[in-house]
Amino acid sequence: MLPKSLIKDVLGRALSSGGDFAEIFVEDKISNSLSMIDGKMEKIVSGRDFGVGIRIFKGFRCIYVYCNDSSRNALLECAEKAASALGQMNNDLSINLTERINPNIHPVLYVPSSVENSRKIKVIKTAYDAAKSYSEEITQVLVNYIDWDQKVLIANSEGLLTEDRRIRTRLAIRSVASNGVENQTGAEGPGAAKGYEIFETVDPEYYGKEASRTAVTMLHARNCPAGPMTVAIENGFGGVIFHEACGHSLEATAVAKGNSVFAGKLGLKIASDKVTAIDDGTEPGQWGSLNIDDEGTPTRKNILIENGILKGYMIDMLNGRRMGMASTGSGRRQSYRYAPTSRMTNTYIAPGEDSNEDIIASISEGLYAKKMGGGSVNTVTGEFNFAVAEGYLIKNGVIQEPVRGASLIGKGADILMKIDMVGKDLACGQGMCGSVSGSIPTNVGQPLIRVSEITVGGR
């Protein structure tokens, strides 16, 4: 993407003022977004993102500069801008680079640019028709198809020179059910680190119906009661509870400066014995997977919590310096516009021993959260919140009528101790996770779990 000699010169210039590490990140990304509403193709946007980010470390200090211009002059000027922030510039350093080719563990059959719009529209139409015809109460359906093909080059003053290509495809469906006075919605968003072949396993008709089923169910639901309850959270996107309640607080972004409730707790018990949690960026073709992270480190399977004991954090290079620990392949960024920091990839609670029947049967009065929406967390205090997209009351061990408008709140450290039953069937859901280094694709997942007590927001 850039000549090796230019990369060497840019890195050398970046280190001319005393920096001890320099990195260049080049990105060329083509993305497409197609949307259907009311059964008509309303918007199709194609775009090319292109830019270069240059990063310098001096101790714990980080300088980041980016621009869209990849000409020799512009890049050397960028490097100078970055270097001058550290002080007087002296001679350029001489850098050696050794090119590394990474094994591709996420092969793609049909690259987005080689698939005509008409074939993508066929998928959209299938999902739309399934969603719209589900019920007369479905008044509107929005279907969005996105794909992207991101090529990156990463080189640094430690001699690394490598490239990667990340392809993602996702279908998002949102159904609106209405009785004229009230609206309710249902949404699905299957995605993968794959090209068009994702639809060999993802059935657009199924997801279209699912979105509408949730919307119609919620239209006929009453408001969820409020207060502390025992809650069973279903697998798949239900894993957002771990992502918010704990995952963000295990990122070095929060841990390195002690701004996390879990800082300094390695080897200590932070969760119930039933909880084993993993972040694994290597799972082939998964939405949150990568061959290498955005600092060039190969991704890996990181055990975060094992049987309740804190085993590890998710660490990037800069925060690793502060913590005196190596990168775990967790340095990620939305684009060249962001300096990378530690982020999640595919994060899940591992399967346990409890049967789904036992979990539901154990709850005399509580909530069954079948589908979850998104959430957020304050990593300092551990306070998290997330929305229940489809919930049901449980009475005497039996699932009862649906309830709408529920949210769950709590503090991560408390909730991890209260996960007292963990089912066997692991499933994941796809999300876009927003944080300091932008919005990135991540998987969340878990089997059905039981939380002995959590505050349910309702009316």
């Binding site: 197609l34 008509k40 193709m41 309303e42 918007k43 199709i44 946007v45 194609s46 775009g47 090319r48 993102d49 292109f50 830019g51 714990f60 200090r61 300088i63 980041y64 500069v65 980016y66 621009c67 869209n68 990849s70 970055a82 922030a85 719009n117 008044t139 509107q140 609106v176 609206n183 309710q184 919605t185 408001n223 409020a226 207060g227 502390p228 400066k257 002690g258 701004n259 516009r337 300096a339 929406g373 998104g374 959430g375 957020s376 304050n378 300092v380 205090t381 306070e383 998290f384 919140n385 997330f386 929305a387 408008g405 949210s407 709140i409 503090k411 505050t455 927001g457 309702g458 009316r459």
Partner: protein, 451 residues
């Protein structure tokens, strides 16, 4: 390639491909930001960037493309994308390139003196901000984040009908989040400043505000679940308005995604409420003399004394409603397509001081923080159930901190339940191309989940 050279070549090639109606929208940014940790520069970031969106009508359908690289390859990419994308659309709603000549208002959103402030001065102020926050109370244990940045944006539209519009703006942003400790519990608080002039940044004042917020949260507990009369502090009310502002978009109304459909010219809320969209506001971060389609903008009341006066429109939705565009075509980025969004959008201030609102509340909750609006609030249904913090108010006075609760309700009901409006209009951090503000609001009743 330089922008004007790229434009000339792109327009030339567009004509060669037989395109007649097309438009360029570009934006250029120059940003500088630093963050401080433990008395030293922790992060230092400089960027200059630009991107360009191109759209064109092909057989009556609008195709879109964008690029961040201005080279010949991108010209081919844009033209091929736009033609291919348009050819695959079958929308009945016709989008158009603005063909009417416009008269734009003079609007100065760019402060030259801010551009001239050297990095050393900004670094000095940011260091001072962190230092002041640390010494504001001996309960402060660390500063989670302390940052300062200056942001400059130039955006422009050129189209095949000769529309040419350029607008440049800049602002300063500073924020600090101290962490305080009491016993084993930690609490945070944040204060921020958005300004056009660096003289407005008073590190001591900003630091004290954040520390005060953090200290006020000490000892917070959940209250009993139930219905409470509530004061929503100005920033919380602004965040709710931002979350549900899509309900006022003509596009959402037309698509059946807004419960305000058919409510024009009817009373939809308390008669105390006036909701204004003012794209020409002097200090507004969303101020611009033209909208995303190059249409001249103007100030309007969307709700006046409780009555819904108009929806917000761009050229397409205005045509669908048989009205004139309100100049609210949104284009938060060259990468996005045309939508509808407010500019500087706010509830007009009322007459009551904050103390008077609490006095009227008498017994209930003051809500000072909400979280998770992107998940726990649904703009299509109006429902919300959000994690919240605040204070218990008794006899019109704050008596204790409250945390680990949720507030739930419906935005459209909340608009009807506004009993009183404060005079403390405040704008929150901008989102997309919009800037939202509200005074504090006294609300008849919200559901609270606690213990």
């Amino acid at each position: 390639m330089e922008l004007m050279e790229f434009k000339k070549l792109l327009f030339l090639k567009a004509e060669e491909k037989g395109l007649k109606e097309y438009e360029i929208f570009y934006s250029k940014g120059e940003n500088f930001s630093i963050s401080i940790y433990e008395g030293e520069i922790d992060k230092y970031s400089v960027s200059s960037s630009m991107g360009l969106g191109f759209r064109a009508l092909v057989n009556g359908q609008m195709g879109y493309g964008y690029t961040e690289k201005l080279d010949e390859e991108s010209i081919e990419f844009l033209l091929n994308s736009v033609i291919d994308n348009a050819g695959n659309m079958d929308s009945d709603e016709k989008e158009n390139i603005n063909s009417l000549s416009q008269k734009y208002r003079e609007l100065d959103s760019y402060n030259k003196t801010l551009e001239k402030v050297v990095p050393a001065e900004k670094i000095g102020l940011a260091l001072e901000l962190e230092k002041e926050a640390k010494k504001a109370s001996d309960k402060v244990v660390t500063i989670r984040s302390c940052s300062l940045g200056t942001y400059t944006e130039e955006k422009g539209i050129f189209n095949s009908y000769g529309i040419e519009a350029i607008h440049k703006s800049n602002f300063l942003f500073a924020a600090v989040t101290p962490i305080v400790k009491e016993g084993d519990e930690i609490y945070d608080g944040t204060s921020y400043l958005i300004a056009k002039d660096i003289k407005e940044l008073k590190p001591t004042v900003l630091a004290k505000e954040a520390v005060k917020e953090a200290l006020s949260r000490i000892g917070g507990e959940a209250v009993q679940s139930g219905k409470y009369k509530v004061v929503l502090r100005n920033d919380v009310a602004g965040e709710l308005l931002a979350t549900f502002s899509g309900a006022f978009s003509g596009d959402n109304v037309h698509k059946g995604l807004s419960l305000l459909k058919g409510k024009e010219n009817t009373i939809i809320c308390s008669e105390k409420v006036t909701l204004v969209d003012d794209p020409l506001m002097a200090e507004g971060l969303a101020s611009s003399p033209f909208d995303g389609e190059g249409v001249a903008t103007y100030k309007k009341a969307v709700i006046e004394k409780g009555r819904l006066m108009t929806f917000l429109h761009n050229l397409k939705t205005a045509e669908l409603f048989g009205v004139k565009t309100t100049g609210n075509a949104s284009r938060p980025s060259y990468a996005s397509s045309i939508g509808v969004a407010p500019s500087n959008f706010y509830f007009e201030a009322g007459n009551e001081t904050f103390e008077e609102l609490l006095y009227e509340l008498k017994e209930g909750l003051l809500i000072s923080d909400i979280a998770g609006t992107h998940a726990g609030a649904n703009p299509i249904t109006g429902d919300f159930s959000l994690a919240a913090k605040g204070f218990y108010v008794s006899e019109g006075k704050v008596v204790k901190a409250v945390e680990q609760i949720t507030i739930s309700g419906n935005f459209f009901q909340l608009l009807k339940d506004i009993l009183a409006i404060g005079k403390d209009l405040k704008f929150i951090l901008p989102s997309g191309s919009s800037y939202y503000g509200s005074p504090s609001l006294l609300i008849k009743e919200l559901s609270v989940a606690g213990k």
